[in-house]
Symmetry: C2
Subunit: 169 residues, 2 copies
DNA sequence: AATAATCTTGACATCAAAGTCAGGTTTACC
DNA sequence: GGTAAACCTGACTTTGATGTCAAGATTATT
């Protein structure tokens, strides 16, 4: 399973907007491109996608730029992934149909069940993490709470709600 | 997040081998290709990858073919995914470094923590599902236990151990 | 030993994702 | 109203994943 470029960069561009969300001014493509080490043209394309999906609003003209369409608490990573080309288990089946027009296993496929389950797990984790969470963990990580650092290293994210609940329910 | 062709087809080819694992004969590429609706050449390439990784053994010559290198209970989907191009969070960071040689966020990146966490979740789910589990759920689904069918539809996999434990522990 | 069925291997072709380019439109400021 | 800073859009190029081709090596059967 691979994370796509649009997912990764889309998220990173949105984090940039979220950081400046309290200030009352739009953020320009050139700023984001510089902060993320991306070309201006490419960031332009990414922001266009995010705008089409309604996650951000744009302001044209000089002093223009982009702002989040909702508060950082209300935008989850799952929202972003869906926007930037998210797939359902059905997509997987139609994508991997080999040299047939339909997958040969359409009647009773145990693999499809696994994909459904795994994707559901991923989605339930990503739904619980908002842009606000990401920014909060940045500051707590780099400044004050350094005893949490070891936990980060061992792949636990103490800041986010336990991913376990969603799976158990 | 996308499932790659090698992951999907690699798993499906291994399921074919697992089905014939009790019989004591190798399975030929041509059989697998027919069963999965893939070209013979492509299956050849996939099997070659799986053999290089040590998941299967090959027998050349007439009456040749492939057999699992281990029992179906001992091969997990996680094993297959790692073989067919699995990625670590570090891979993601080096892949998405934009126009720099290194990612601009290497010091204290909250997104990397998220990828670590999500990938850990996925991995813990996939480690718990073996080829034997997949075959068992096939037969129970298509023949006897049809009351489980509704549960499958709602993305629950009653046959597999709860994915929850790994996350909680 | 000849043959046919099989795996092995590396080069090649195709396609979709990733990323760039160029020309256009909008808006604030002077 | 001219100009510069910004977004908008579609066409283009590049790159890596996907899938095919063709020639070779191995082995059971006759």
């Amino acid at each position: 399973m691979k994370i796509t470029a649009l997912e990764e960069y889309g998220l990173r561009c949105l984090v940039q907007l979220a950081r400046h969300h309290s200030e009352d001014r739009p953020v320009a493509i050139s700023e984001i491109a510089k902060a993320e080490g991306l070309s201006i043209q490419y960031v332009g394309k990414i922001m266009h996608e995010l705008r089409r999906a309604g996650l951000i609003n744009s302001l044209r003209g000089i002093h223009g730029g982009f702002v989040l369409a909702k508060a950082p608490q209300e935008i989850s990573i799952a929202d972003i992934f869906e926007t930037m080309g998210g797939e359902t288990p059905e997509h997987v089946c139609s994508k991997f149909s080999g040299n047939q027009t339909q997958c040969v296993h359409l009647g009773g496929c145990s693999i499809r069940s696994v994909w459904s389950f795994v994707m559901g797990q991923v989605s339930s984790v990503l739904k619980r993490i908002s842009l606000a969470d990401l920014i909060a963990s940045e500051s707590s990580c780099s400044s004050k709470l350094n005893e949490q650092h070891t936990q980060f290293e061992t792949n636990k994210l103490p800041v986010y709600p336990a991913a376990t609940e969603g799976a158990a329910k």
